[in-house]
């Protein structure tokens, strides 16, 4: 770790998780500092989504998770959300039957009425596109708008750390830039971001640091300004370092 | 209740103990209780009849035993609750007849179980006494040991038909039943009888008792010109709906039919008390008020019940009387003829004018239906008092 690393916000060590009998993650160590943007990269099936789910409590897991100094080992998704660790799940899964506004109100479930009202407006201010459609049913939005709505839902709680799972998936390049620009602005505002992305270059442009995940383990950790990063990533992806010759 | 399985076990334990102590066998037999198999439906659907009859039966057995039993031997009722379930009745018959070796079977009290139980009891050659009305249950060739202590459906329906056609002088009749065995069988039997009497059956149907709305049926009766409704059902909800619908329609037509028309359950389900006016149900002359008085035997019986603190308000007098008669008949028979099956049947075949509270019983070798036609009458249901009714208008006292 670089010495200049900011004060840690999320600290994970020895995390393991999976689906039923299928172990997906093993011995994950990962940290995100206060106000830091971290990209989590890796090929398909490496376990990135699983990692986010395990952190937010959507999946059972073992190992240590501390967030803002609190132990989150047995935390439910509700606990993590209330602690300020918000997970925007993959596939812009908004509630299509409800209006845009209602979708955002739900994100503030459990807050006081006034708090909710102000923070929903705040979140909408981030995305003028959808602010104009606040009374429309979320099902009528385009995919990109739905993704923005999903990110906006994540913002309603003014999280200290926002975990975004492939916000660019299925979006046109223009929309991808819009969504990622919002991520950049968030970071400027002091919100830490843990970003799972397929579009490596775009992710690297937003992030301070990067982790690469392959076959359920962290195989690389680096600052985004380090030299030779693309090459090291490629190795991490295609796994030539764990190559063993076969005799057939 | 005086009959539990524990007592049965205790009885056999005593038997075993005395056997072990080497007492002479005849002495044991002389002290052993005489077993009577008893098949009421005490729980489950349509158990109110069983509960009423049970009060009389238990009282009579207790009195017989308190009075020294049958030549020193107690009567022991082996009771098996059939829950109105024929499969339970079939199992129970096998147990009573084969394992308990009962001297007589009293019951089943409901036709549904009796239909299944009767051939089996006959096969096991055990004398059987029952109060079910279905005609087919008595057949001296198929079931030579089965005797009925109550009227048949034909008698019951005949009584109602007589009242409608000959007393009320009405010619256009609507006949309705629920879809149970009892209901459908009744309609099937009574309609031809009505026709034979010269009445015109302008409506005839079976209706699911769960059907909440009977207005279509009554409207049809009305438009067919019915002058009397004859419902055949033991379902109080069904009957009360007929009466309530009749009341709501403001249709002033007499309702003449089954005894349940006058039951407390039916009364409880009436929307207003007036709906019970002009309703005449089957009843039995021996247990009806005539000019405000019960016949002598019944009056005496009521005193007896009061002394024994038997509840009458929530059941019907004739049920308790019937239960009493059944047990009394068996007690008298055992006293006179002993516990051997053939002796019992021979005794019953000679019974003539046996004076029951509920009815006067006469059996012959050719006729095992013992209830006299003349004692099947109709009563005014809204005259219910202490479980008994006034005779319907038109009968000579």
């Amino acid at each position: 770790m670089p010495i200049s690393a900011p004060e840690p916000l999320l600290e994970i060590s020895g995390l393991a998780s999976g689906y039923g009998k299928i172990g997906v993650l093993r011995g994950i160590d990962l940290r995100v500092g206060v106000g830091e943007a971290v990209a989590l990269l890796g090929p398909n099936g490496a376990g990135k989504t699983t990692l986010l789910r395990a952190v937010s409590g959507l999946l059972p897991r073992t190992g240590a998770i501390r967030f803002a100094g609190k132990d989150m080992a047995g935390a439910s998704p509700r606990d993590t959300v209330q602690a300020g660790l918000v997970h925007v799940v993959e596939g812009h899964r908004v509630f299509t039957q409800l209006s845009v506004f209602d979708n955002l109100l739900l994100a503030g479930y459990g807050m006081t009425r006034d708090e909710r009202a102000t923070q929903v407006e705040e979140a909408l201010a981030f995305f003028p596109d959808i602010a104009a459609k606040r009374q429309d049913r979320a099902g009528t939005l385009s995919g990109g708008q739905q993704q923005m709505l999903a990110v906006a839902q994540g913002l309603v709680r003014r999280p200290r750390l926002l975990m975004l799972d492939e916000p660019s998936a299925g979006l046109s390049p223009v929309l991808v830039d819009r969504v990622l620009a919002a991520v950049a602005r968030l970071r400027e505002g002091g919100t830490a971001v843990l970003l799972v992305e397929q579009l490596i270059e775009k992710a690297l442009a937003v992030a301070d640091r990067v982790y690469a995940l392959a076959r359920g383990s962290i195989v690389l950790e680096a600052r985004t300004d380090e030299a030779d990063l693309p090459n090291r990533l490629e190795h991490a992806y295609f796994g030539q370092d764990v190559n063993a010759p076969l005799s057939s | 209740m005086s009959i539990t399985r524990r007592k049965v076990l205790a009885g056999s334990a005593v038997g075993a103990a005395s056997l072990a102590s080497g007492l002479a066998a005849p002495a044991i037999a002389a002290n052993e209780p005489i077993k009577i198999g008893y098949l009421p439906a005490l729980t489950g659907p349509s158990s109110s009849t069983g509960i009423g009859i049970n009060r009389g039966t238990v009282l009579a057995v207790d009195e017989i035993n308190a009075g020294g039993g049958i030549d020193g031997r107690k009567i022991e009722l082996i009771v098996r609750d059939t829950q109105s379930d024929p499969t339970k009745a079939v199992n129970a018959v096998a147990e009573l007849a084969q394992r308990q070796k009962v001297a007589i079977v009293w019951g089943p009290l409901n036709s549904g179980e009796a239909l299944a139980a009767t051939p089996l009891i006959a096969r096991d050659k055990v004398p059987m006494l029952h109060p079910c009305w279905v005609d087919e249950l008595i057949d001296v060739k198929k079931y030579p040991m089965a005797f009925r202590i109550a009227p048949t459906n034909t008698q019951v329906g005949g009584g109602a038909n007589y009242y409608v056609v000959d007393v009320l002088k009405l010619k256009k009749v609507a006949v309705i039943s629920d879809t149970t065995g009892y209901g459908t069988a009744s309609v099937n039997t009574y309609v031809p009888m009505l026709k034979a009497k010269g009445a015109e059956v302008v409506y005839e149907n079976h209706v699911d008792a769960a059907n909440p709305d009977l207005k279509p049926e009554l409207l049809r009766m009305q438009s067919a010109g019915a002058q009397a409704i004859m419902p055949w059902s033991v379902n109080a909800g069904f009957l009360s709906r007929i009466l309530n619908t009749r009341g709501a329609m403001g249709w002033d037509v007499p309702v003449v039919g089954q005894t349940t028309l006058g039951s407390g359950q039916t009364k409880a389900l009436l929307e207003k008390p007036e709906n019970w006016n002009k309703v005449y149900s089957n009843n039995f002359r021996q247990v009806c008020f005539a000019d405000g008085k019960l016949p002598e035997r019944a009056q005496e019986f009521v005193e007896r019940l009061k002394k024994a603190k038997i509840e009458m308000g929530d059941t019907l007098l004739w049920w308790i009387a019937l239960g009493w008669d059944g047990a009394k008949m068996m007690g008298d028979t055992l006293k006179a003829a002993g516990p051997k099956a053939d002796d019992i049947v021979a005794h019953w075949n000679k019974t003539k004018g046996w004076p029951g509270v509920y009815g006067t019983v006469t059996w012959t070798p050719e006729q095992h239906n013992g209830f006299p036609d003349s004692e099947v009458v109709m009563c005014e249901v809204n005259s219910l008092k202490d479980g008994a009714f006034n005779l319907a208008p038109g009968y000579a006292a």
Binding site: G23, G45, E197 | D81, Y182
Partner: protein, 598 residues
């Protein structure tokens, strides 16, 4: 490891287990046979009732316990059989029939209506199906009430009296006993046949069953037919036992009783439900004071079973599967045995996709895909999420019909939307999440894969005719061999849900090998495996392909892909981005950037 003979020891253990499994039946049979010596006809009646209920439950057990169809209203079969037998014997509808013939007719009517009631199961969700069976039971009772001329309406009708040799009393007792034994024997035969395994597969792993060539409609119809026939026969006997039947004898409570007996006994067992039926028939006789609470107690028992021991009595009796397994197990595949599993007559054909297109709701999942998977080669299919890999697999497997283009094996065009026909083309596959029958042994799971190679019919299996026995022997040997190939032969008798995840992956491959596949599709077989296991898996896959099988490998482990594939196709946005040898792909800049998301 040069020994190429399949280990025989587990087979011997299995046949020992079969003898052991027969012991409770022998005991029950002896009790049934000797019961008349007590000369207590009360016990006789209760036993007859238990036999009769079991005849119905034995069939229903196949429907509920094996196929997993929640048929709550099966009492309707008893009603139909009882009324048919009674009415024909009494001659209310036709000239009077001989009672034995009428009983056969009762069975036939039961079979017919079993199919009619069962058919909705092919289309309806569980709860809906449960409701339709209930509805049908009500209709039957209503019709029995209404059709007075034949059924006697509410008054009912006398039951048949069977003449010598099975006349009332102990004769009839032995009649019920023999038929119950027969029903047990036939259902046990069926349960241990490929049809029985397929039923359980439909219940627990429907997709895998389809991929193995199980035709669900035909199988379920056969089972409903058989279960209905048993229900009808039980009904005829019931009518005779009752001596007189009325519609009120066939209550919903009775239906629930059959159903609960099976579940208390345990799904997928025969002994368990048989014991359950006996217990539920006999229990009320010992608990007379509790009679009015009996339904309450049954229901409470059911709730307890569901919540605490979903496996039922059978699970409690299954002590063998509670013995601990060895902890550190290693999977050592033996590819050298492959030649004995895969016969070469079936190989040698190319699986090809030509210009296949498919879109979902306006999104093009596959946009003009060409693919050629050659025998003897391992063909890797990679690409980012949403690039269409799984969709491609599902098109080949027949779950989706392509909107344009064709899938061929050799010259034959594969029928779209017919996953259960793929097995006929010797196309086998494994699944991302292993699809297994947890409650069945590993061997049984693997034998599912050979379903289409059975020659014998449903009826032959019921009666264990020679063809059935040959089928079973061949399937068992082939499965043991396939298990030896993947290195799991020592675990053949173990319940599959006790295996580790990695072992399940190899078990799926063994199941796929049972088809002697011309084409084998592996969907992320390395997911969740250790590096060591991945290496062995790689060697096994290569060995399979060298036997002449075309292997399609969808995998995220890039190193495995590049190590063992002869050819790699990279998909992106539903199109082929690149195709070639691993070396070519590895250096293909577009691939790298697509992967890296540049």
């Amino acid at each position: 490891m040069t020994d190429t003979s399949a280990p025989a020891q587990p087979v011997r253990a299995l046949s020992l287990a079969r003898i052991e499994g027969a012991l409770p039946w022998i005991a029950l049979g002896l009790v049934g046979l000797l019961l008349p010596l007590l000369d207590d006809s009360y016990i006789g009646v209760i036993a007859q009732r238990a036999f009769i209920y079991w005849i119905l439950s034995a069939g229903l057990n196949l429907v509920v316990g094996y196929a997993g169809q929640i048929a709550i209203g099966w009492v309707s079969m008893l009603t139909l059989g009882a009324y048919t037998t009674a009415a024909l014997t009494a001659g209310t509808a036709t000239p009077a029939w001989h009672p034995y013939l009428a009983l056969v007719a009762g069975g036939a009517v039961g079979a017919l209506f079993g199919v009619i009631v069962g058919l909705p199961a092919l289309r309806l969700r569980t709860f809906y199906f449960a409701m339709t069976t209930l509805g049908f039971a009500t209709i039957v009772t209503q019709v029995a009430l209404a059709w007075k001329e034949v059924t006697g309406g509410g008054v009912g009708t006398p039951g048949p009296v069977f003449p010598w040799p099975f006349d009332p009393g102990w004769g009839f007792y032995y009649f019920c006993f023999i038929l119950a034994a027969l029903a047990t024997w036939m259902t046990a035969n069926l349960a241990s046949s490929r049809f029985g395994r397929a039923l359980v597969a439909i219940r627990d792993a429907e997709v895998a069953a389809e991929a193995s060539g199980v035709a669900k409609p035909r199988l379920l119809v056969a089972v409903f037919l058989f279960a209905g026939a048993l229900g009808g026969v039980a009904g005829g006997l019931f009518a005779s036992l009752q001596s007189y039947i009325t519609p009120d004898a066939f209550t919903f409570e009775m239906s629930v009783l059959f159903f609960i007996a099976i579940l208390i006994g345990g799904r997928g067992s025969i002994l368990g439900p048989a014991l359950g039926t006996i217990v539920l028939t006999v229990l009320p006789e010992f608990a007379a004071p509790l009679v009015q609470w009996s339904t309450f107690l049954y229901a409470a028992l059911l709730l307890l079973i569901v919540l605490i021991i979903p496996g039922g009595i059978a699970d409690l009796l299954d002590y063998k599967n509670r013995r601990p397994l060895e902890r550190h197990r290693e999977i050592v595949p033996r590819p050298e045995l492959l030649a004995r599993v895969l016969d070469r007559r079936t190989g040698g054909e190319v699986l090809s996709l030509a210009n296949v297109e498919l879109s979902f709701g306006g999104v093009r999942a596959i946009a003009g895909l060409d693919l050629e998977i050659r025998p003897g080669e391992v063909h890797g299919l990679i690409g980012p999420n949403g690039s269409g890999k799984t969709t491609t697999l599902n098109v080949i497997s027949g779950y989706y019909a392509p909107e344009a283009g064709q899938v061929r094996l050799g010259d034959a065009v594969l029928p779209p939307r017919a996953p259960h026909l793929r097995a006929d083309y010797r196309i086998a596959r494994t699944f991302q999440t292993p699809r297994l029958i947890g409650g069945a042994s590993v061997l049984d799971n693997v034998m599912i894969g050979g379903t289409i190679d059975g020659q014998g019919s449903f009826a032959e299996s019921l009666l264990t005719l020679p063809r059935h026995r040959r089928d079973e022997k061949r399937l068992r040997e082939a499965a043991m061999l396939a298990l030896a190939v993947v290195g799991l032969d020592q675990l053949a008798a173990v319940r599959a849900d006790r295996l580790q995840h990695s072992e399940l992956r190899f078990m799926e491959i063994a199941r796929a090998l049972m088809l002697r596949p011309a084409c084998l599709m592996l969907d992320e077989p390395a997911a969740g495996l250790s590096a060591d296991e991945i290496r062995r898996l790689g060697a096994l896959i290569v060995a399979i392909s060298r036997q002449g099988t075309a292997v399609l490998l969808v995998e995220h482990h890039a190193d495995l892909i590049f190590d063992i594939c002869d050819r790699v196709t990279v998909l992106n946005l539903g199109k082929v981005l690149a195709a070639g040898t691993p070396a070519e792909i590895r250096s293909h800049r577009e691939v790298v950037s697509a992967y890296l998301g540049a």
